[in-house]
Structures are given as structure tokens and as C-alpha cells.
């Protein structure tokens, strides 16, 4: 069922067909892949947690040495203290406490609050950086394919240089120079991560360019802008969506790795930052290294499952 919606473009009101049936068709195909749905479910959960969680949770940066190294609920740690006067060992058992259900780290910061803050940061960095990278990649890819000739050649050679560039080293280098802030991290990942998208979109656009409907709209006198935005980009849209979904986990991992080596934003708590503290207390407080890793792993797994399902749903040749 195709529905008409009026939108305004350049002052002229135009009817745009929103094809509900197509969306419905893709959703039905996606629904058949249970793993993909589970992935989507976890992503939605994470988004809700990251959006609303911080309003309810404790302050993730609140330090309280009285409750340091508390284990998660259901676990307990033992502490042996030697008393010189009586020369005896007293062993105290510290069980997990309900006010810190996931335990605390070596500075007494609440793990649950830190994990919630981390989910906000991971999703934010993942979505924003991927947004920048994919938009830039799409723009450059379409531009390259459409312009052709020396401009195409120049752009693709530049892409080659960027692709060969040691990505992680570049990331560390730029963050070191400009200082560790979330904005810088997002911009750097966004500005370096567009190469794959640009190449893929370019090759797709190149094959589209010779198709009859493009020739037809050219013959009808459509402008370059119109052909690019109304014909080329809608036709690579499914490719772009799949590509974006599957590149989010890489971005999230890159941010976590950066924070893990101590180059994260010191003003915010991300999963990588917690892992950075956790790696030094593996023998006394294992949960500090385990919990953020599980979150990271589940997030990446969910995006991979969901992206895989999306790809199959969009692919007319795939049987779902």
C-alpha cells in the first residue's frame, strides 16, 4: 500500500510515495532470522539503558574507598588481616551487597553505574562516528563514480593511501596530539573510517550509472544533483544501511581499545576505561575486567547478528 505524503522541496510542494509495503516486506524477512531479532532486541535494550539509565543510576565517577573491591551479588571475597599484638590471622568474608549489585572497583566506584554510563558512550561514539564515516564515504563514492576521469582517479588514490594507513596508530597519534576527548575520538574515527564505504558505493554507483533509468532521467534533462540524490543514493540505500550496521561494532571496539590503553576521555566512563582499571586488579577483583568485556562482546555480537540479518533481508537472492 503506497501512501502519499506532501513534502516541500525548494518551496514547491511535491507528493512523495512512502512505500509501506516495501518496509513491511523487509521487516517480514528480517523477522524470520531469530538471531538477528535477538541482536536488535539487545541493541534496543542498550539504547534505552544508555538514554535513561544515567538518570537513575548512581554517579559513575563517585569514589568511595570504604566500599572498594566489593564483589557482585552472589559472590564473596576473603580478606586476611594479620594482627601483630595477638599474632593471629583474622579472615573476614566480604559478600556482595545489594546496593552495589555488580560490585565496585578498586576505588569503590559502582560497577552498575559505570556500565550504564559506558553503554551510553559506546552507542554514542558508535553511531556518531559511523554516521560521519558512512556519509563521507557515500558522498565521496558517489562523487567519484559520477565525476569519473582524473577526479575519480585522484579520489581513489587518496582512498588507497587512507586504506593503507595504519588505522589504530593514526588514531592514537591524533588523539595524543589533540588531547583525549570524546569529540576528537568521534571525529577521528569518522574521518578515517570512510574508505571501505567509499569504495563499495563507488563500484555500486558505477554499475548503476550505465543503467537505462539513469540514461532516461538524463535524457529528460535531470540535473546532476537530482540524479545523484533521487536516483543513485536511494538505489544504494540498502547497501549503506547494512554497511553502517556492520561498521558500528568496529568503531565501538576501536573506542574501547583506545580507552583501554589509557587514551580515553578522562571526563567520561566508558567500557574501555573500566577495562583499563580492571586489568591491574585481575587477581583481587576479577569482575572489574570481566563485566565491561561481556557488555562489549554482547554489543558487538548483537550488531553483527543484526547486520547479517539485514543483509539477508535486503538481498533478493538470499532465502530467509
Amino acid at each position: 500500500m503506497s501512501e502519499e505524503k506532501i513534502v516541500s522541496r525548494g518551496g514547491i510542494k511535491l507528493p512523495v510515495h512512502v512505500n509501506r509495503r516495501l518496509v513491511r516486506y523487509y521487516w517480514d524477512r528480517l523477522k524470520k532470522n531469530k538471531l538477528s531479532l535477538a541482536g536488535l532486541g539487545f541493541i534496543v535494550f542498550l539504547a534505552l539503558l544508555g538514554t535513561f539509565g544515567p538518570f537513575f543510576a548512581a554517579d559513575p565517577q563517585h569514589v568511595d574507598f570504604d566500599v572498594k573491591n566489593l564483589p557482585p551479588l552472589g559472590f564473596s571475597t576473603q580478606e586476611s588481616i594479620y594482627d601483630i599484638k595477638t599474632s593471629t590471622f583474622t579472615t573476614t568474608v566480604h559478600p556482595g551487597r545489594p546496593d552495589h549489585p555488580l560490585g565496585t572497583d578498586s576505588k569503590g566506584r559502582d560497577m552498575l553505574a559505570m556500565l550504564i554510563s559506558g553503554s551510553r558512550i559506546s552507542l554514542l561514539v558508535g553511531l556518531l562516528a559511523t554516521g560521519i564515516a558512512i556519509s563521507l564515504g557515500t558522498f565521496l563514492g558517489v562523487l567519484s563514480a559520477y565525476l569519473g576521469g582524473w577526479a575519480d582517479n585522484l579520489l581513489m588514490r587518496f582512498t588507497d593511501v587512507m586504506m593503507t594507513f595504519p588505522f589504530f596508530l593514526l588514531l592514537v597519534l591524533i588523539v595524543f596530539i589533540f588531547g583525549p576527548s570524546l569529540t576528537i575520538i568521534v571525529i577521528v574515527i569518522g574521518l578515517t573510517g570512510w574508505t571501505g564505504a567509499a569504495r563499495l558505493i563507488r563500484s555500486e554507483a558505477l554499475s548503476l550509472r550505465t543503467r537505462d533509468f539513469i540514461t532516461a532521467s538524463k535524457a529528460l534533462g535531470a540535473s546532476d544533483n537530482r540524479i545523484i540524490f533521487n536516483h543513485l543514493i536511494p538505489n544504494v540505500a540498502s547497501l549503506i544501511i547494512v554497511m553502517a550496521t556492520l561498521s558500528i561494532p568496529g568503531v565501538i571496539m576501536a573506542e574501547a581499545a583506545l580507552s583501554f590503553i589509557g587514551m580515553g576521555d578522562p571526563m567520561s566512563t566508558s567500557w574501555g576505561t573500566i577495562l583499563n582499571t580492571g586489568q591491574h586488579t585481575l587477581d583481587t577483583a576479577w569482575w572489574v575486567a570481566v563485566e565491561p568485556g561481556i557488555m562489549l562482546f554482547l554489543t558487538v555480537l548483537s550488531f553483527n547478528f543484526f547486520g547479517d540479518g539485514l543483509r539477508d533481508a535486503f538481498d533478493p537472492k538470499a532465502t530467509v
Binding site: 588507497d160 593511501v161 593503507t164 594507513f165 595504519p166 588505522f167 589504530f168 596508530l169 592514537v172 597519534l173 591524533i174 595524543f176 596530539i177 561494532p249 571496539m253 574501547a256 581499545a257 583501554f260 590503553i261 577495562l275 580492571g278 586489568q279 585481575l282 587477581d283 576479577w286 575486567a289 570481566v290 568485556g293 562489549l296 562482546f297 558487538v300 555480537l301 553483527n304 547478528f305
Partner: protein
Amino acid sequence: MRNYIIKRLIYSIIIAWGILTITFILLRVGPSSPVDRYILNIAARGQDVDSVKQAIEARYGLNKPITEQYFSYMGNLLQGNWGWSFSASMPVLELIGSHWIYSFQLILLATIFAIILGVGLGMLAAVKQNTKFDYAASIFSFIGISIPGFWLGLMLILVFAVYLGFFKTYYDTNYPIWSLENLKQLILPVMALGIGELAGYVRYTRSAMLDNLHKEFVTTARAKGLPESTVIGKHVLRNAILPLVTIIMFDLGSVVFGGAYLTEIVFGIPGLGQVSFNAIFADDYAVVVAVTLIGTFLVLFINLATDLFYTYLDPRIRYE
């Protein structure tokens, strides 16, 4: 063919030059100077900071305009002089010479581990398509792809070194490279680095095998009465190997640049990853540029080798 190789080599040199220039500019335009470390010591001893700083900068030509520094660096490089490491107080080439082997052994072992197990498991999964083994392999590969390598490293240390005590928690450089002890302490790092790659190879091998498994020449081979092992090993695998080589070679680049660095940091292996990270923090630009350049050449060489290897694997491929 010879012209093609020459063209590719020239092209590689241009890309490497581009990367070198970007790295050099990023490092030298930054606010801090490699001399800063010296200055801290001198200031602590109460000597006149400015005159010493100027003297050192004049001696190494750091006070000249950036373009002049760039050309003198390039000139030296072309004569085989890689510069001086300020933080290690030795020539860059000597520093790299004493550390490269730690990275090399790690990357080599992890790659061998991943290729043998990954391709083996992928082949088995394809042959036993839609059995429990196939599903298990598929789930394993999804998990392996989604697990962050550095976190996996931490977990391996936690379980096998901290709790079970099978391994030391740190890398001991006192063991000679070719000793059994050294091989033993590399088990965990190799697993941490290799499992992600392995998981990818399982997936790609499986799909490449399945692409060929139901082709007519396979039916013919079976009809001829060839044993199943010959059909799989000689007819299916050989046709599946071309896309596999691309993936493996492409992955090697990301292992060299991404995973190996983080693995070295998690396990405290003093390889080139550690060296370059320390160099970034010390603003030791000559070391960073050198490591980046070596890594870039390695990746470009691998790419070229892959393309040439194709002509051997598939004689139909010819380069003009």
C-alpha cells in the same frame, strides 16, 4: 608482467611516501617536542632550561622550519639513515632491530595457528553442512569475530595465569627466542590474537567451499569414483582457495597494525607495537615514522605478493 610489477612498486612507494609525509607533519606540528623529556631532568637539576633546550634543538636541527626538517629527514632516509631515537638514546634502526623479532614471532605464530585451524574447521563445516558440527562452527565463528582481542587476552590471563597458574602473567624476555619456555609463554598471546582471525577464516572457508561444493565438476569427480578426500582436497578446495587468499592477506594487514599492538600491550611483549606507542608518548617522531613506514611497506608488499600469487593459483589471471 615485469612492467606490471614495476608499476606496482612505484605506486607502492608513492603511497608509502604519502603516509610518511602525513605522519611526519602530524608529529612535528604538535605542540610538544622530543626534547621535553631531557628538559624535565635538567630542570630538576636546577640548570638553565632554555639554553640547554636551544642547544639540543640546534644540534638535531629541530629549530629549523618544518619544511627544512622534512627535507633533511627525507634526505637522510634515502641514504639509509633512519634518524635518532630521543627516548631510547640510540639510532632508530638499532631500536627497531632489537625489538622486531618479538612482534614477528607473535604475528607469525598467530597467523599459522589461525590459518590451519580456521581453514580446517571451515572445510569440515562445509562438508558437514547443516549438521550440529556446522552450527557449532558457525556460532563459534560469530563469537570469535565479536570478541574483542584485548579483552580475550585479559580473560585468558585471568583464567590460565591468575587462577590456574599454568602461565606467568607477564612476558619474560630473559628466555631466548628459540627456547621452549618462550614458545610456552607465547601460547596465550597467540590465542588472543589468533582466535579473531581464525573465526573469520572459518566463515570464509565455509562459504567459499559451499560455493563450489555443488558445482558440476564436483559431481563429475565423484562419478569418476574418486575418493571423497580427493574430491574435497583437490577439486573443491583448490577452487575455493582464491577468495580465501584475498581475505587472509587482507587480514594480515589488520593483524600487523591493530591486533598485534594491543596484544603486545596486554601481555607486555616488547615488540614494535610497544615501541611505537612509547615513542608516540615521548614525541619521538623518528621512531613513529619509521615503524609506520615499515608497517606500510609490509602491507603494500603483502598486497603485491597476493596479486602475483593469484597468477600462480589461477593461471587464467594475467596482468598487463
